[in-house]
Amino acid sequence: MLQGAPPRGPRGASTTTRGRGRGGIQKRRADGPVRVDRDGDLVMDAEAAGAKRKPGKGRMERSPVPTGSGRTSGGRPRGGAGMHKAQAAILRGMGAQQANVLESRIGTTGNTLEISGLGSSKAAANPDGGVEALLAFLERKASGLDDTLNRTVKIKKSLKKGDKVIITASPQDIMEIQKLDGFQFAGTILSIKASTPIPSRSASEEKKQEESPQTTDVKAKFRAVLEGRYNPQLKLWNLSALAIDPGLVSMGLFDGSTNTSKVFPALMAVCNSIFPTRAAKKEAVVSVTLADNNLSNVGDVNALAQTFPDLKNLDLSRNNLVDIKSLDGWRYKFKHLENLVLTGNPIEAQLSELKDEFLKRYPDLSMLNNVLVRSPAEIAAMKAAAEAAQSPIPIAPPEFRDVGQVGENFIRQFLALYDTDRMALLTQFYDSRTSYSLAINMSAPRSHTNSKPIPPWAEYIKHSRNMIKITHAPARMNRQYKGVDAIKNVWASLPATRHPDLQTQTDKYIIECRPTQGLPDPSGQSARGVDGLIITIHGEFEEPNTAEKGSRSFSRSFVLGPGAPGIQPIRVISDMLLLRAWAPLAQPKPHAMMPTPPQEPAQMATPEQQQQEAMAMQLMEKTGMTLQYAGLCLVETGWNLENAYVAFMTNKDKLPPDAFLANVAL
């Protein structure tokens, strides 16, 4: 909110326009009595006053009547509201955008009560000083006082000040609570009085001229403190050890009941005025240290996340953060955090177990307590995987292990000829023993974002050999086509196709290739069989001649082996075509997979692993190989960078094209 409001300037700079020039609170009144602020909090005095106070009424009053609504009795006239009160008001106003943090944003006169006696009660020994117990007691008793009261009394805000607790509630509830004056609570007698009024928003608005010097003074002091702690070279804001900051201490902010959680929102508000936009903050503040603030929960400094959502480095050293719960306030914040330091906190001992949780919370996190927990490549891979499909199983780049470019050449010719001249294709690569079959998967899941109509399957269905559906043995046999002649008839009956160009539209394909052994030797010389390839192509094609001109997705598996001597160099032993409704293929990013040593438990990266990663990155940069191949190369050469490079130089001609980052085509 403050970003939008002009910072409170020095006295003379304030405009006299109503509702202008006084920061956040005024801002929302600029357009009239608005009852809900942007946090959704009810603006108490606006509600109470809105109906009663006419615009302009009381503006000339020098001293506002604190119990303006007249609902509470015993309201003391405002007086002696010195520096302390002014500061309270300022803190409240400056932190107004952090409603959840700023408990001290107590409403105003008439809606607040001051309760004394808690300190001498038994509840004072509670961890929170008994405030919670007291509030519960007040709500319960007040609700129960009046049988005709068919609602629950609710205390909206509370602020503990020494022995006193100041509470805020709706005027109606205040009336009920006030009746509890003199009640016994945990062994003590409570005294409940209307709170010593602090200037209400409207009153302070009216009294602007009076208050400005103090406001300006406090703000200037804050600003001086903050500016002294900002390092523009490092883009670091040092907010460590605030409680012993001489400037803040001299303002009396850290004596008695006030603590970091009260001062912090105000500090953030001043940060907001120094760097008013998110972009400015992102540019100017990359790192923040909150070391030595005795924080037991980040909730105390929650405003940091709102003020600096784009922080990359955060130091929380030497606080009192005990477990992951103490950091839950920032669970969904700091999505760009790269470096988190928790040294000297009790939570430090659990970091190895909590690593995964931190990695999950902060997708960019690479350093946790000065230990590399995720390499840049891993972060990129994670993002790629998440973008690609939000897949629980990372999609790896296709594995293409060709032998002498046999697979590559086959695929190029196959795709071209299948679209243009299927008979030529049959002659070139198929023989009398080739098996061919096709199946249709009509239940393949498609993304709901893909609503492209599915062209009818009529031309294919009579050949479909999906054995989940076709259970009758003769039908299964009939739909397996063996030999060029049988295949020729089927292919002639299938619609013409147009496959995307393999050179220019590589993203339309996922092609895998790997060697296999034990294929029959057409020459009959090798009884134990010969080597060949298993190739799988995932892709799509159009049917340009059909009325729908629809597209289909396919997966096609081939087994290739050497052809009969003198007839074909290679032949297709098996060809299995699978069709499904069209859907775009999700492609992994080029270096989406880092070779991970098998069954290495996901622990903190050891220095050795870090070193290996660094070597793989180096080799990748040097050779242009993918990280995966660089890793493989290093594994094979015993993680010796020099040897790996030599091995690369001697073998680079034999490497498959997809070993390289510039993976233009197959």
């Binding site: 298993i534 087994v559 499904r580």
Partner: protein, 123 residues
């Protein structure tokens, strides 16, 4: 040979039921020279394959076989192409996958997996 289609059907039924129930028990289907390629990561030998399967990043998994096609392969083997949908853990969106098996007879009247190639094919 006449029966390869039935073998393929029985095999895939068994394989996916076992995979979904407890994939560590799949070791019996692989041999020393078997090769699994799961999302481009290749491992050889039954123990390594089972380790790889066990290490996959999901707990609960359900395969829904969409298509099954099989062809007789050399050495009385069977080539099987399966496509289907895979649901893992709490993920609500099923993933398309294709899996190619090359089965070989084990000499004792049964078959083992010689090649197993798994690939997710998103759409």
């Amino acid at each position: 040979m006449a029966n390869f289609a039935d073998v393929a059907k029985q095999f895939t039924d068994f394989y996916y039921n076992q995979f979904d129930a407890d994939r560590k028990q799949l070791a019996a289907l692989y041999r020393e020279n078997s090769m699994l390629t799961f999302e481009s990561a290749s491992v050889i030998g039954a123990p390594s394959i089972v380790e790889k399967l066990a290490s996959l990043p999901f707990e609960k998994v359900k395969h829904a076989v969409g298509t099954l096609d099989a062809q007789p392969a050399p050495h009385d083997g069977i080539l099987i192409l399966v496509t289907g949908a895979l649901l893992v853990d709490a993920e609500e969106r099923p993933m398309n996958y294709t899996q190619t098996f090359q089965l070989l007879p084990d000499g004792a009247g049964s078959f083992f997996i010689f090649n197993d190639i798994f690939k997710l094919v998103y759409g």
